[in-house]
Amino acid sequence: MLQRYSLFAIFLHWLMALGIVLAFGMGLTMTDIPGITPTKLRLYNWHKWLGVTLLALAAIRLLWRLFHTAPPLPDGMPVWQRRASSAVHFLLYLLLFAVPLSGYFYSLAAGFPVVYLGVVHLPVLIEKNVALSEIVKDVHFVLNWCLATLVFAHLLAVLKHSFIGNDGIIRRMLPVRADISDQA
């Protein structure tokens, strides 16, 4: 029987997926608003709070991954697919940190410290530097599009495995009945 991730890992995956889609949507919307408006101010701050939350969740997720083994891939899966999967997942983990971190430093460089939920003053690691903020803004933008591309590739693979070959791989990340050994 196909083994799946534990319920905790599954929960984290979907929670973060939802959060990332929301944050991405906010990012696209808020930067389109001209001038300075209350809505824009709120969106920017909510986007940052969500980003910080996602960074914390990414840390938890990484910790989980370091102390647990992922369920094994099906026996018949070709080596190139295993390698591709590893590579994409590795890059996704990298971006789960790089994207919110670049956003955080962009905010600091622009002269806006992040106050989580409006109450917790997060560390001001760098001083205001408007010239630097322009660069970090571009980094945040590029990394986000890398993330979007990899998520798209990830989705394509899921669709492929669901409709071509139908190896049920999607059930690794769904809370279905499965044979859970200690490792997951």
Binding site: G35, I36, P38, R42, N45, G111, V114, V119, K128
Partner: protein, 189 residues
């Protein structure tokens, strides 16, 4: 002889009175290049600041006769600089400073109390956007090379002056408490 005897004490009195006069008899203008007026405000919990780059002022301060002190500072509200053009444009609007109608903000001293040689308490009238309020602010005074440095933080409520009206009234967006940080240096005598 008698005439000289009556004139002499008067003459001596005049000399003594003149010697006792304070050195400075003219108000000193504020040297804008060496002074700053900044405003710190809070957006959804985040403290940010801006400066006013154009202002003028005249201060006459005499420690021996504080009741004779005068001070006026006039700020060109259009010189508000947040570092981002969109913000600077926004604050000139009617909901904020309404700069086209109220181009200056002014502080006029009414009294000053000298607590120590370096610590003063100034009371005066602050006028912004057509509204005037009494304010009190502790001021630190430092004199270097004959120039006076008046430094302090004036805490005001923006809503008292209707700065940030309509959709910007909500204090969770921009807090009511605003701090005006000033460092006013007088010109060389």
């Amino acid at each position: 002889m008698m005439k000289m005897l009556t004139v002499l004490p008067l003459f001596l009195f005049a000399v003594v009175a003149w010697a006792g006069q304070p050195q400075q008899v003219e108000p000193r203008s504020v040297d804008t290049a060496s002074s700053t007026i900044a405003v710190v405000f809070t957006q959804m919990g985040v403290d940010v600041d801006a400066t006013f780059t154009r202002f003028s002022g005249e201060i006459y301060f005499d420690a021996a006769a504080p009741e004779a002190t005068t001070a006026t500072v006039t700020v060109d509200v259009g010189s508000f600089d947040f570092g981002y053009p969109e913000y600077n444009t926004e604050v000139a609007k009617p909901t904020w400073f309404n700069t086209p109608k109220f181009s200056t903000a002014q502080f006029e001293l009414t009294s000053v109390a000298v607590k120590t040689a370096t610590s003063l308490v100034a009371k005066g009238q602050l006028s912004i956007k057509g509204k005037t309020r009494k304010v009190t602010v502790p001021v630190n005074l430092r004199t270097e090379n004959g120039r006076e440095h008046f430094v302090g933080e004036l805490k005001i409520n923006r809503l008292d002056f209707k700065v940030g009206e309509g959709e910007w009234r909500k204090t969770d967006l921009v807090a009511d408490d605003v701090t005006v940080r000033f460092n006013l240096t007088t010109a060389q005598p």
